[in-house]
Amino acid sequence: MRYFLYKLSSFFITIVLVSMIIFFVFQLLPGNPAHIILGMDADPAQVAQLEKQLGLDRSPVERYADWVRGLLQGDLGESLRYQLPVSDILTDRIPVTSSLAILSLIITLLIGIPLGIFIARSDGKWMSVFLNIVTQLGISIPPFWFGFMLILVFGVTLQLFPTYGYVPWSEDFFGAFQSFFLPSLAIAIGNIAIVIRYLRNTILDQAKMDYVRTARVKGLKERTILYGHILRNSLIPVLTIMGLLVADTLGGSIIIENVFSLPGLGNLLIQSITSRDFPLVQSMVLYIAILVLFINFIVDLLYKLVDPRIRLKG
């Protein structure tokens, strides 16, 4: 319980710090949203008028206070560029990015874990060389390249998948799956490579442990030893990596959404940074930060579940 409370309070303190950093760092960016919205032909009177309308004439501290007050009341403010409530804009976009992240995580786990176990079991010299090359490629090639290659092969040449387009899950489950599969796969490839490497290494390390020898001496079947003992201990580092991969996946989806023309947060984030749409950018970055923090919080709790020995230090 103490562990839980400690983690929970650090979760909230980090959110407050993150919100301050987000707000004040964006204030440092050069470029005036009023200028950017009105473009190259604006006259100064129009700019001043718009600045006032956008509340840009007030001090940053005042605006931060307003923003936080709004956040607490669930009001994220209005987008400068779209002139629509930020919450409305985000409700449309969040499902797209989350679907992408979740599906790519599922693909990563479904392929990465069995493959990692398989490779660890059939470990041989040629296998580790081959594995090294393939996973190294998987890690170093950027996801957008995989994205283009997948579109080229499955969209243009084989015509199995659409090259663009988004279908909500509620409308057509299989259609949605089709539109998310390739982009999720593009993000997942690199992550799969990482999971395989980690899992294989930890399984091989664990297999040398004394408890494994004891289990063998007891006459347990190899399968039972692997799945019942080694795998359980090997999952802790994989869990840590998964926490990091989620953050990575959200970052990767920003570029992948552009490649697959999906209306997610990524595309919106880039556009709102260039147009200095502060209310929108702040809310999006805060949302992503909270999500990442939350997932790390869950991972912390899962540690305890997988390994009850983990205690709060100090």
């Binding site: 960016l29 050069p30 470029g31 005036n32 200028h35 950017i36 919205i37 009105l38 473009g39 190259m40 006259d43 100064p44 129009q46 008028q49 560029r81 779209y82 002139q83 804009i89 449309d92 599922i106 693909i107 786990l109 479904l110 874990i113 283009f148 579109i151 080229l152 969209g155 243009v156 084989l158 015509q159 199995l160 998948f161 659409p162 663009y164 387009g165 988004y166 279908v167 909500p168 409308e171 057509d172 299989f174 259609g175 799956f177 089709q178 539109s179 599969f181 799945y227 019942g228 552009n258 490649v259 697959f260 023309s261 209306p263 595309n267 919106l268 880039i270 556009q271 260039t274 147009s275």
Partner: protein, 519 residues
């Protein structure tokens, strides 16, 4: 452990199920095309709906035509709205909602006769009251801030009858006529931002944020001979140009407005293309107020050292029109020809001019370039090379366009920069930038003779005299070497085979009425 196993099992089942569905669809060979409506196939077969899909690199900023500031949005929505006048390919104004117009002798009063029987998309008739409402919003005569500076000069608008509008200007302004292409909106209708209504050839159907804008044919369009051959148009948001090319290869996109040379190579012969100048001016702007650029000889030397043909060849793959002043030949009637060769590349002469100005050993020059535009960045690199030949040591400073707008454009805190001005329908809107007291004259050009020419031109009521004055103004800019005017880069539109007739206008316009379906 059991929990983990069953979890994995569940995921496997879900995965397999989903994968099966994927292959089912592929068996029938029908890829999902339009997001929510898989039945609309890419190939417009006879008897089915005829859909045109256009890839757009940016999102709609606002559907209300008076609030939107993005050129792309305005070009898309131009199909929903009509103005009193419209433009043809040469930039000539042609009647649209107005049947005819008259300008008084003193150039202050504009009288428009409206066509009768024009219907808005909600079925109501378009009458003079709607024009008055629209123009009052634009000009700020409704008591609010003017939405357009072009309309701020209106003194008074009246509607003597349902089909006549009389506009009185505060002062003579020949540029006002071209402003009348702005959309006419139904009076009192406040929902333009969510569900726009106009009188154009297409009706607004749906906008899915970040995905697509869907328009449907307006069967009651008042110019029946111009009803476009499409039941539906979808503008699809595709931020990545490479993805748009791939989608076109897969037959899922019909038109890409603006393809890169690499994209063209990839598409090859399988598509139709239309390219040409886009009435844009790419220039290396020189801040006429900072040393040593305040010396006309230094600016002339820079002009002589820069080989524009080389820039066009290397940066634009030869797809560009060389310029000599701040004006593109796309607006032929007002264009002063011959200025593009006023400064022939001549290193010796350039060096001599620099020596006269006291810079025989050259000098350091900072070139601020908006990093968002690779085209300008590439141009800058060629310029660095060319200017090094006369001893000018150019240092490129990359800056984000958002910052560029503030520091360079608004505050003129720069030495030189590379940027392009987009086309305007009236020469005044193009050349006004160089009037000495114009607030966005960031080149800091100052020549009373030029000011007088532009003032005379805008007050002129005779077209030929006006054109002559604008031509003289262009020549002055060249003679004073106000900046280095480089090129009007070509824009290339790619159309799937079977689509023809796409036309280019002096302003970015997606005029779907022009397109013919040949197969």
């Amino acid at each position: 452990m059991k929990l983990l196993k069953s979890l994995v099992l569940m995921m496997v089942i879900a995965f397999v199920l989903a994968a099966c569905s994927g292959s089912n669809t592929s068996d029938t060979g029908e890829a999902v095309q339009e997001g929510n409506n898989p039945t609309e196939s890419a190939n417009s077969q006879p008897g089915t709906e005829n859909v045109l899909r256009i890839a757009m690199s940016t999102e709609v900023d606002n559907l209300d035509p008076y609030i939107s500031a993005a050129t792309d949005t305005q070009s898309m929505m131009d199909n929903v709205f009509d103005g009193l006048l419209d433009t043809d390919e040469s930039g000539k104004l042609v009647p649209a909602i107005a049947e005819d117009y008259e300008i008084s002798e003193d150039g202050l009063t504009y009288t428009f006769q409206l066509k009768e029987g024009i219907l808005f998309h909600d079925g109501s008739e378009l009458i003079s009251e709607d024009v008055v409402y629209s123009y009052e919003r634009l000009s700020g005569l409704n008591g609010e801030e003017p939405l357009s500076s072009q309309f701020a000069g209106i003194e008074n608008i009246e509607a003597p009858s349902d089909y006549e509008v009389v506009i009185t200007l505060k002062e003579n302004n020949s540029a006002f006529l071209a402003a009348n292409i702005r959309p006419i909106l139904p009076a009192g209708y406040e929902e333009q931002s969510t569900s726009p209504i106009g009188a154009g050839p297409f009706k607004f159907e749906e906008y899915q944020a970040g995905q697509q804008l869907t328009l449907v044919k307006n069967e009651d369009y008042y110019m029946q001979d111009k009803v476009p051959p499409f039941d539906k148009v979808q503008f699809i948001v595709m931020p990545d140009p490479e993805s748009a090319v791939l989608a076109m290869q897969a037959g899922e996109i019909d038109v890409i407005p603006g393809v890169t040379p690499q994209g063209m190579m990839q598409l090859g012969e399988s598509v139709n293309t239309v390219s040409g100048p886009q009435n844009m001016v790419q220039l290396m702007a020189l801040n006429n107020e900072v040393e040593p650029l305040d010396d006309v000889n230094v600016r002339k030397a820079i002009n002589l050292a820069i080989d524009k043909d080389m820039i066009i060849e290397t940066v634009a793959d030869g797809m560009g029109t060389k310029l000599g002043s701040n004006f593109s030949p796309a607006m032929d009637f007002y264009y002063e020809a011959g200025l593009e060769d006023y400064y022939q590349p001549n290193i010796e002469e350039a060096k001599a001019l620099l020596a006269d100005a006291g810079y025989a050993d050259g000098f350091d020059l900072e070139l601020t370039v908006p990093s968002d535009y690779q085209f300008h960045v590439d141009t800058a690199q060629v310029v660095v090379e060319q200017l090094s030949q006369i001893g000018i040591n150019v240092e490129i400073k990359l800056i984000e366009f958002s910052s560029w707008l503030e520091t360079v454009y608004q505050d003129a805190q720069y030495e030189s920069t590379i940027v392009s001005f987009t086309g305007k329908l009236d020469p005044y809107e193009v050349l006004v930038r160089y009037i000495s007291d114009y607030q966005s004259n960031f080149v800091n050009y100052n020549n009373p003779e030029y000011d007088a020419l532009i003032e005379q031109a805008v007050a002129s009521t005779d077209e030929n005299e006006m054109a002559d004055l604008y031509k003289q103004a262009q020549r002055l800019l060249t003679e004073d070497a106000a900046s280095v005017y480089i090129m009007d880069p070509d824009r290339t539109y790619a159309l799937r085979s079977g689509l023809e007739g796409w036309k280019m206008y002096p302003i970015q316009k997606f005029n779907l009425e022009d397109i013919r379906v040949t197969e």
